[in-house]
């Protein structure tokens, strides 16, 4: 299959461009995404390609953005709404949790709310307390939503295309530190199905489940551990809901050991859900207590050293695997 090397941010723009060309119901709206091309550059070139009617720069009105997207979806459009940072989903969480997620259920299943809410999450860029968080667990907690958080250009493009085609509201979360990484992406149309995990590295001694910024860190950790004779399997769930727990369970049954790593807060993070599911479904296959590597009970500071101190790093993943090996 023909491929090209592009960055994650280019992969996002490419996915939107292809889907807008494919389906005239798809349109894009958000803050600074047209003329400016997006604060993180994921919508560059789309205004020129499709014009102001379908690539809508909006005022700073997160509440109205989600409400307008929902209204448009209710009568058959397929909006992609960007919330510039996941931190600001707090502003429009009423629209997302009480309206977008529930409108179909409260309408006897009549409307399709085919809507994508695209955002980015995680810290590591020194952006501080209100621009560095990872709220994916908030969203996974709401029935009616699907939540994906892909960690490379191939998965990003394929999952965004699947999200746009899905008849349900999908929250698409870009890990902000990974937007500049490059990877091979097919030039032909493809999708990555929602709800399918991917084994990024095979191994037999322990399983690491990681996503977002922690996924490349987990792969580096796996290499370090391999040099010391510990063969780790790395599973990227890609979709956090629906969650492909089967792939995780299959891996744990093979390795008997599990570490879950994410940058979101440890307390009530999605990792806690994965730990609970694994002990419910594969308790007898575990040879050691499950470990979590995540951000401790803290607010994210700007100072580089402080930020690095609070956010989970590769060496903590290595240590977690060793502690149960």
């Amino acid at each position: 299959m023909a491929q090209h090397q592009i960055t994650y941010r280019e992969a996002i723009a490419e996915a939107i461009k292809e889907e807008m060309a494919r389906d005239d119901r798809v349109f894009l709206m958000g803050e600074d995404l047209g003329r400016f091309g997006g604060t993180f550059g994921t919508t560059r070139g789309l205004l020129r390609e499709f014009g102001e009617e379908r690539v809508r720069d909006t005022p700073i009105s997160e509440t109205a953005l989600i409400g307008f997207g929902l209204g448009a979806a209710l009568i058959g459009m397929r909006p992609i709404v960007e919330i510039m940072r996941i931190d600001w989903m707090a502003i429009c969480m009423d629209e997302i949790a009480n309206h977008v997620a529930k409108m179909r259920y409260l309408s006897a299943g009549r409307p399709e709310v085919a809507m994508v809410i695209k955002t980015n999450a995680e810290g590591g860029l020194g952006l501080g307390a209100q621009h560095s968080q990872s709220f994916e667990a908030w969203l996974v907690h709401v029935p009616g939503l699907k939540v994906v958080m892909p960690s490379n250009p191939y998965d990003g493009k394929g999952l965004l295309k699947a999200a746009i085609r899905d008849p349900n509201p999908v929250i698409f979360i870009e890990p902000v530190t990974l937007l500049s990484i490059s990877g091979a992406v097919p030039t032909k149309d493809y999708v990555v199905p929602l709800g399918k995990a991917d084994i990024k590295r095979e191994g037999t001694d322990a399983t690491i489940v990681a996503w977002g910024t922690l996924l490349p860190k987990a792969l580096n950790a796996a290499q370090t551990l391999a040099d010391e004779g510990i063969e780790v399997e790395v599973v990227d769930p890609r979709s956090l809901w629906p969650l492909d727990i089967e792939t995780i369970i299959t891996s744990v049954k093979k390795t008997g050991r599990l570490v879950v790593a994410h940058q979101a807060m440890k307390r009530c993070g999605v990792g806690a859900e994965i730990v609970a599911l694994v002990q419910e479904q594969a308790f007898d296959h575990l040879d050691a207590p499950i470990q979590r590597v995540a951000t401790p009970d803290v607010i994210i500071p700007v100072n580089r050293n402080l930020e690095r101190t609070v956010l989970p790093q590769e060496e903590q993943i290595v240590a977690a695997v060793k502690s149960i090996s």
Partner: protein, 330 residues
């Protein structure tokens, strides 16, 4: 814009139907047929009927937690709406939404938000989609005076006006946000005046006058259909029901209103009484016809009650249905 005798009598008939429906509910609530809560709209019938009469069949409506009157004014089946209020399988959402989530998708009544102010931005988005699809429809959005203090009001009206979407924002000012009087919640009690801030027309009308409501909405709808953008209409009326909602375990909590206020509004400003008198003066409504209209509405309500009571409870499996749509979009 002159309404025919037939049209006026039709509007009166719909107001009477809504009134009978609403006044019957506290009894069924107390008897345990209605779970949780419900919101009745006595005093707001002229707004519901006047506004809905100004729409075309394929226009859209978005509404609030207090929407029985709106959906009935749109022509929804009374038995189906009552069955929903009773939580039955035959209701418009199969008993899952209840009183606060009535809808009629066959009549483009796209439902409600039971979060005060939650529907305003959704109605703006419906307007946006109409504009993008170039279908020449209009969206009417009902919300209350309480919603006018939400941020959604500001964000929604600003964006709707900026993009000139065909949405008519209709504020039912019933003078109380739950128990808070208008003047204790709004620095400026003239809600329609805020339209200036969004560069859209704002109009304050007597919400007990069905013709005034009809005419205001009609001209806002025509403007929207011509592509000239949204309008804000404030219909001033009064919540005649003793309490803001049907509630369990509270004594009639009406102390928040000045003594005699409710009685005075019933006496002097009951929209149905006013319209009845007007129709009589026009020579359109003899006592005999008025009695007949009431008897017919009563009969329709009795049949709706019978239908709702006899309807089955939803099966337990239905609680898990309708959350996600199946795959297979274009």
């Amino acid at each position: 814009m002159q309404l025919t005798k037939e049209a006026l009598l039709g509007m009166y008939r719909r107001m009477v139907r809504i009134r009978l429906f609403e006044v019957s509910l506290p009894h069924y609530f107390e008897e345990g047929y209605i779970a949780g809560t419900g919101h009745v709209s006595m005093g707001e019938e002229a707004v519901a009927v006047g506004a809905c009469s100004a729409l075309d069949e394929n226009d859209y409506i978005m509404s609030t937690h207090r929407a029985h009157g709106h959906v009935l004014a749109r022509g929804a089946s009374m038995p189906v709406i009552l069955a929903e209020v009773f939580g039955k399988a035959t209701g418009c959402t199969g008993g899952k939404g209840g009183s606060m989530h009535v809808s009629d998708f066959d009549r483009n009544f796209l439902g409600t938000s039971a979060i005060v102010g939650g529907g305003i931005t959704i109605a703006g988005g419906i307007g946006l989609a109409i504009k993008m699809k170039k279908t020449n429809q209009v969206c009417l959005d009902f919300f209350g005076d309480g919603a006018s203090t939400r941020g959604t009001f500001h964000e929604g009206l600003n964006l709707a006006a900026l993009w000139k979407v065909p949405t008519v924002f209709l504020c039912i000012n019933n003078q109380y946000a739950m128990t808070l009087p208008l003047g204790k919640g709004c620095a400026n009690i003239d809600i329609s005046a805020r339209a200036v801030a969004y560069d859209m027309p704002g109009q304050r009308v007597d919400g007990t006058d069905v013709i005034a409501v009809y005419e205001a909405v009609k001209s806002a709808v025509e403007r929207a259909r011509k592509g000239e953008g949204p309008s804000l209409i404030e219909c001033v009326t009064y919540r005649l029901s003793p309490e803001h909602s049907l509630r369990v375990g509270t004594v009639a909590g009406t102390e928040y209103r000045p003594e005699g206020e409710v009685e005075e509004w019933w006496e002097k400003h009951d929209p149905i009484k006013i319209f009845k008198q007007n129709l009589k003066e026009l020579g359109y409504l003899a006592d005999e016809l008025a009695d007949k209209i009431e008897a017919e509405a009563k009969k329709e309500l009795d049949e709706a009650v019978d239908f709702a009571l006899k309807s089955p409870e939803p099966g337990p499996e239905s609680a898990f249905e309708g959350i996600y749509a199946q795959e297979g979009g274009r």
